[in-house]
Amino acid sequence: MDLRELYQQVIVDHNRNPRNFKELPPPCSHAEGHNPLCGDKVTVYVHVEDDVIQDVTFQGDGCAISVASASLMTEHLKGKTLSQEKDLFESVHDALTKKDSEIDLMHFGKLGVLANVKNFPMRVKCATLCWHTLEAALANQKSVTTE
């Protein structure tokens, strides 16, 4: 296994220059995610109208995987419907956490770079944190934790 599989150029790029890295002011909903094991903290802001994600942004402090994952997530989801988001959440979660998942993340554009995280079990939660946090924001929960 080569470490470049994890730290692909896209990930390094999104970590250094995270997209949509900003707050959205209320009344947009937001939620905080926290992985105390590594200290990752992320806040996801989301603005939904007519069942469409009009805008989604994040802020926080975390490892390259968690920052890049959040950046890629926001980029991908802007303009998607809530039901598309739900499918995507389940695909990502399934692909990264289920041993015999048949989901191929390569079908989801740049998000494909997350596929390899599966080979680094200790880093999976870094990649999924922002997704759980988005779910919480959409459900209007205040915070979420993964470990």
């Binding site: 470490l3 390094v12 105390p36 200290g39 990752d40 995987i65």
Partner: protein
């Protein structure tokens, strides 16, 4: 990097001791393992592993309760370990050595029993700003239960205790001071003798969390005069699941038991139970017999090398690592106390500690990254986490080199 391991000399024959540690001789991701996570748990010498296997293979039996031969042998081995440990830390009596599951259980036992004995609403307990959660949360829980007050002795930017503030913190409500001897997050060695002196002039008992001290330095209970002293087996080359609460006999006599069950009582009826003598009053149930015997073997092992030799060599190691760290571009050492031992905690600009951990692991270097169960310390230094290399006497200068070579890769990988 100016220096390298090749032009270094030391009095310490590290290769001789490395041979005793089977886990050190393996490759990780195709690279020789450099195990620099000793503050989390230490590796075990073959002598300790053999003591455990030998116990299970030849003497296994429950202790204290039997008249048959195996039971006598198991009891002798178990109590023999207690004697070794009492002697090693120069306790006055084996009655002062309580075996627990680990430092965490020892501290919870103490917080509970001391709390039941001595803490009422409004009383105060002082801990420091660099405690491991195990010496913080039990006191928080106690204070919640009893409506008592937990006060924090602050730390300085260098990562030292701000001792000048201690007299102000102490009041006539102060019932106990509990501080860490050596910080697992910063490596700071605290002036526990001074703290004990200050406290004792006001008749306040002191508990010392020595979990990170025992692997690196000698401790002498009678000279130190701490009222309680806590340590954990797995960090001092012993097995998991065993730790020690040392307490002065006079204190332990006064404290009520913590857990109830077999061995800790003298007589039980439905109306009345009478507790056993020390140390058994605090050792309810079948103890971790193999663990205690293994810990005895670990003490033998340390004594064979000589703890002063260990300390001298580790000072060289830490100095060498610190020098390299200071020369490393973008690296910030977290914790720059005058007196440090065993731990180099740091961050690297622009690289999250978690990524550092993964990347150096691919070079065979095992370090820990995270909050090290010391979140308040992280908050104080305003970092989410640190990377931490922590040393034992079996580490080499070359392993330190390997760490810094690996740290260079973090930059290649993430920039």
């Amino acid at each position: 990097m100016s220096k390298s391991a090749h032009n270094l000399e030391t009095f310490f024959d590290v290769e001789r001791y490395r041979k005793d540690f089977p886990a050190l001789h393996q490759e990780v991701h195709g690279k020789p393992l450099a195990y620099l996570d000793n503050a989390a748990t230490a590796q075990k010498p073959q002598q300790v592993i053999d003591a455990i296997s030998n116990y299970y293979s030849n003497h296994n039996s429950n202790v204290h309760r039997g008249v048959h031969t195996l039971s006598g042998r198991a009891t002798d081995l178990y109590e023999g370990s207690r004697e070794k440990i009492a002697k090693y830390i120069n306790a006055k009596s084996t009655k002062e050595i309580i075996f627990t599951k680990g430092a965490t259980e020892a501290l919870n036992l103490l917080a509970y029993s001391f709390g039941e004995h001595a803490i009422s609403a409004g009383d105060e307990i002082i801990v420091s700003g660099m405690e491991h959660h195990s010496n913080l949360v039990p006191w928080q829980l106690l204070c919640q239960r009893k409506n008592a007050i937990l006060k924090i002795l602050p730390i300085t930017k260098k990562g030292e205790l701000d001792l000048a503030l201690l007299p102000e913190l102490i009041s006539d409500k102060t019932k106990l001071i509990s501080v860490v001897h050596t910080s697992n997050a910063l490596g700071t060695v605290n002036p526990i003798e001074d703290i004990i002196n200050i406290a004792h002039t006001q008749n306040i008992p002191v508990a010392i969390d020595g979990s990170q001290a025992l692997p690196h330095t000698a401790v002498d209970m009678q000279a130190l005069d701490a009222d309680f002293f806590i340590f954990t087996g797995h960090k001092m080359f012993g097995p998991t699941g065993v730790g020690v609460l040392y307490g002065k006999e006079a204190w332990l006599e006064k404290l009520p038991p913590y857990q109830g069950g077999g061995d800790m009582i003298r007589t039980v009826s439905y109306t009345h139970s009478e507790y056993n003598d020390l140390p058994y009053k605090f050792e309810a149930g079948t103890p971790n017999i193999a663990g205690v015997i293994g810990l005895g073997a670990a003490v033998d092992y340390i004594q064979n090398i000589g703890i002063h030799n260990i300390q001298a060599y580790e000072t060289e190691l830490l100095n060498y690592a610190t020098e390299k760290a200071l020369a490393f571009d973008g690296l910030n050492i977290i914790g720059q106390a005058e007196h440090k031992s065993g731990v180099l905690s740091f961050t690297i600009d622009g690289v999250h500690p978690h990524d550092i951990g993964t990347i150096v692991d691919f070079e065979g270097v095992a370090i820990r990254t995270g909050h090290h169960c010391a979140m308040p310390v992280m908050n104080f230094f305003n970092v989410p986490a640190t990377a931490r290399a922590s040393f034992a006497f079996y580490n080499t200068f070359s392993e330190v080199d390997a760490l810094f070579v690996a740290l260079e890769k973090t930059k290649d990988m993430l920039f």
